[in-house]
Symmetry: C2
Subunit: 167 residues, 2 copies
């Protein structure tokens, strides 16, 4: 396609929009409601990583009300934060740049709830029954994963650091 040789490739609005929808679709498959997913994706591709209700609403062709609802959800999940820009009545929602995927993956509280449910089940069927053994193995798996996830995130921070310095 026609691109000027300034070195800075220009934004392709249609492509951006396709990305937003595709990325949001992944989030939806992972269990996030539709609007929050789209808003989050839109924030991710914005150059500033932040934007207001009106701005997002226009980009996604949804009402400001829908944006507001979506942001409330994202805020509760700690996926965005709200900032008040001093000289303006515009509120800005910001995606935490390098931390959002940690929020998505590490959430140890989630793993804990799986573990709690499993322990409850083991108690109810008896640990030595076949079912008890199966649940016990699953519990062991979650306990294992819990530790490993920590390790992964540590290694990732190192990895990212290196990558960042090289550039």
């Amino acid at each position: 396609m026609a691109k000027e040789g300034t070195g800075q490739p220009e934004r392709d609005p249609e492509g951006v929009s396709r990305f937003v929808e595709h990325f949001a679709a992944q989030l939806v498959m992972a269990g996030m409601p539709r609007m929050p997913a789209r808003v989050f994706a839109a924030l991710l591709v914005s150059d500033t990583g932040a934007g207001g209700s009106a701005e997002l609403g226009e980009a996604l062709r949804i009402s400001p009300a829908a944006v507001s609802g979506a942001v409330r959800y994202l805020d509760q999940q700690h996926l965005v934060s709200r900032e008040r820009e001093p000289g303006s009545r515009r509120e800005r929602y910001r995606v935490h740049g390098d931390q959002w995927y940690e929020a998505l993956t590490s959430r140890e509280a989630v793993i804990r709830r799986w573990q709690d449910a499993l322990r409850e089940g083991i108690a109810s069927v008896g640990p030595d029954s076949p079912a008890g053994r199966r649940l016990g193995e699953t519990l062991a798996f979650f306990e294992f994963v819990e530790k490993e996830v920590e390790g992964i995130m540590d290694r990732w921070r190192v990895h990212r650091e290196e990558r960042f310095e090289r550039e």
Copy 2:
């Protein structure tokens, strides 16, 4: 025909039911529809790890039709398999004992789709724009995780092996 062991702790039906609901709730939060989640949980706690439509329907107080629909979903997700028991018209749905959580976590196809969506986005905003950099870092994260997950599952198999032998 169940053999009642002398020292076997007895099943607590109410506790089992509570487990099924709690565990299913976790699955739902992770994005699984309600009925499939309940059916899956019910299979997990059953001593045989398998059961038929009628049996499951009675345990969960839902119609055979609902069970059927749930199983179709679980089958598509490769979370259960169907077996035909030779001398009977009873079909049995079975949970893959020690492999189901691998299906839940490892699914590399899922990670690939995230990566594809991100690459698309990076192309659309330009890799050197601020947004491009943010997406690039996210992509790097997913690539990193993809490799790490492999490692985790390998280490888990070793870990499980040890645990199993010790018992």
